[in-house]
Amino acid sequence: MLRVAGLHAYYGQAHILSDVSLEGNAGEVVVLLGRNGAGKSTTLKSIIGLVRPAQGEITFEGRRIDGLSAHRIARLGLGYVPEERRIFTDLTVMENLEVGRQPSRAGAPAWSPDRLFRLFPNLGEMRNRPGGRMSGGEQQMLTIARTLMGNPRCILLDEPSEGLAPVIVEQMAATIRELKQEGLSVVLSEQNLHFAASVADRATIIEKGRIRYTGSMAELQANDAIRAQYLTV
């Protein structure tokens, strides 16, 4: 479904990613694990076209997407949910969803506001509230719902559990599992191993812009040495 190979990215002179490779298969949840500043967000931004990689190949459903502009990539059915949420604070919940709306596409679950409100009941109760007057958890739900309005086949979720209360993190995990049930492929970035383990099939570990480990989530759970080396603070 999504394949990243030999990716290099820079911010100005700083070499942020070197030789990053990553793979997400159809219908699977894969997690990119790493500490703060490891390069997770930069990897996701490179995939969606917000950061222009210096080198490397990104293919989505067999099609090269590196070098395309973000809106073209999104229209191919790749959704992106940013770490900072980037809700349109002046716009209401309904209007935020409207910005994300794209025509439905074959082979992807089709979303409407009503269907999304069943997935995120909270949002349904505040349809006309401006995004700026919502709690962090509600904003996190809205940013995912907004991306789903584009009817993607695959979504990139950048640290969805960050800064959320434990109950909400539980909800988030349930939501991701539900999306997987719907047939959506998910690429997730996380620092929270516990959360990742509750949703992901496979894991890739990134540290200082380099890939250190790739394998199944179960294997990683069993491998104390790797976890201690790259993930614990």
Binding site: H71, A74, L91, E98, G100, G150
Partner: protein
Amino acid sequence: MSFSAIVIQFLNGLAGTSSLFLVAAGLSLIFGVSRIVNFAHGSFYMVGIYLAYSLIEYFGRGSALGFWGAILLAGLGVGLIGIVVELVLLRRIYQAPELFQLLATFGLVLVIKDVALWIWGAEELFGPRAPGLRGGIEIMGRTLPEYDAILIVIGPVILGLLWLLLTRTRWGTLVRAATQDREMVGALGVNQAWLFTSVFALGAFLAGLGGALQIPREPANLLLDVTVIGDAFVVVVVGGMGSIPGAFLAAFIISQIKAFCIGIGTVEVFGASFAMSKFTLVAEFVVMAIVLVVRPWGLLGRPQAMPRHAGAAEERISLASRPLSMAAFAVLAILIVLPATADTYTLVLLVDIFVFALFAASLHLMMGPGGMVSFGHAAYFGLGAYGAGLLLLKAGLPMELALALSPLVGALGALIFGWFVVRLSGVYLAMLTLAFAQITWASVYQWDEFTGGSNGIVGVWPAEWLTSKTVFYFMTLLLCGASLWLIRRIIHAPFGYTLRAGRDSPLRADSIGIDLRRHQWIAFTIVGAFAGLAGGIFAFSKGSISPEGLAIPRSVDGLVMVLLGGVQTLTGPVVGAAVFTWLQDEVARQTEYWRALLGLTIIGLVLAFPQGIVGFVKARLPARLGGGL
């Protein structure tokens, strides 16, 4: 003022609100979405009024349908021009530093002005009054023109339509979203290019319509572009960038103040009579200055993150590499031996180049290392020039002393204005410098008894021993050369490093105990001194001073020079000033349409060298040679 007079002035103010609102709303929309400060927006207004004139002539002056049809068509025509401009020019420079975009739109101003000159000529064109609306409405014994009554209605109607468009349509939702975070809108699959084109078209249409609607009230003329853009900037800043209701509110306030200043006439204050109507030229800028200081993001706007400085990825400034120092000495050597062979004409041109090199270098010190973009740098140049002239003629000081004091006059102005200016950053800071420059200009322009008003000052001649062009040339070379050397020293002194550190990360500078504002204030004052010296020399080289010396175009010239050469390096503005001054002189001698050629050159340069000429050369030189350029 009687009550009925107050009511009439209020209604006059309301009528004025409409056109101002239309222009400002378009400017605000465009800025909100594309973050481009469109200098050419006043030009769209101007084209609107000219087009309306021609179309009405074409349809016949008597027909009401022809009149209103012409006005609508004029707006649509300008909208079409907007589309072309967006597709051909702006689309290519969205990624360029914001100041280059500004420069490109300014090039457009020059081109449009000359196209209008070519099509419609230099004479003012008076349009007809609106058919069927030639009468007046009696209000408490006074008359309000019927057409003004229509205008009063049109403004709020368009505000309402815009509001519906922005809140009730998908397009409007996307526009509002993009105003906040256009990158995110793109990541959600929206084609920004298309959104930008449509917003630009709408903005241009509104400006064109605003112009066309004025045809019965004011003649079409070639000065409208700059006056209108000044007014529109003020309205947008006062109302809050990107806020349409804010634009309406600000247009209302400013039109009312203007109407009442005219209405009040002359007032007696402590026995002295003061013509309030003179205040109209400054009023809006005073309002803007107050708003910027008290509530920088405008009455109805909200605080926004603004790019703080011009350079894209700023690199470390290194001291002159060896080849570069050698090149500098070679140029200096040539300049020293040149008078032996050069004619007077060349010497005079070179004096101009030296003066503007200093002017541009001082602006560079402020924009580059200082991180403060000034739209009103001419103020300090003009203060230096007027200071020198007045000290010579009114205070009777010897010429040498008057010239020596000109930097102090510039510095004093900068000291006072700078105190306010350094409290802001980004576009807001630039706007405040513009406001102060306009206030200075308007004061000079209207204070007939002291500054000679619009006539300026004549008889500002240098001392006996400097009357020879060659001697004056050497004096200028010495003063400007020494100043450039000093500016270079300042940039590389700890003071310069502190400024750059503050510019690059204000928070960190703050946390290590640097008082950034104080440093910026000092820098601002120093910069004012250098600009003042440039102005002083300029005054004596010409023998006269006119208010144009500190008007907006002079400030823009400075910006063009700095950006042309590249803002990252000190060599940039010097090269930029030389190229610009030479081009202006050369082209102006060849053709009446020198502005268009200059504008096209600017646009071409921006498209070809988005990092400026020197930046371009530097990127292609080996690092060893390019260091310190």
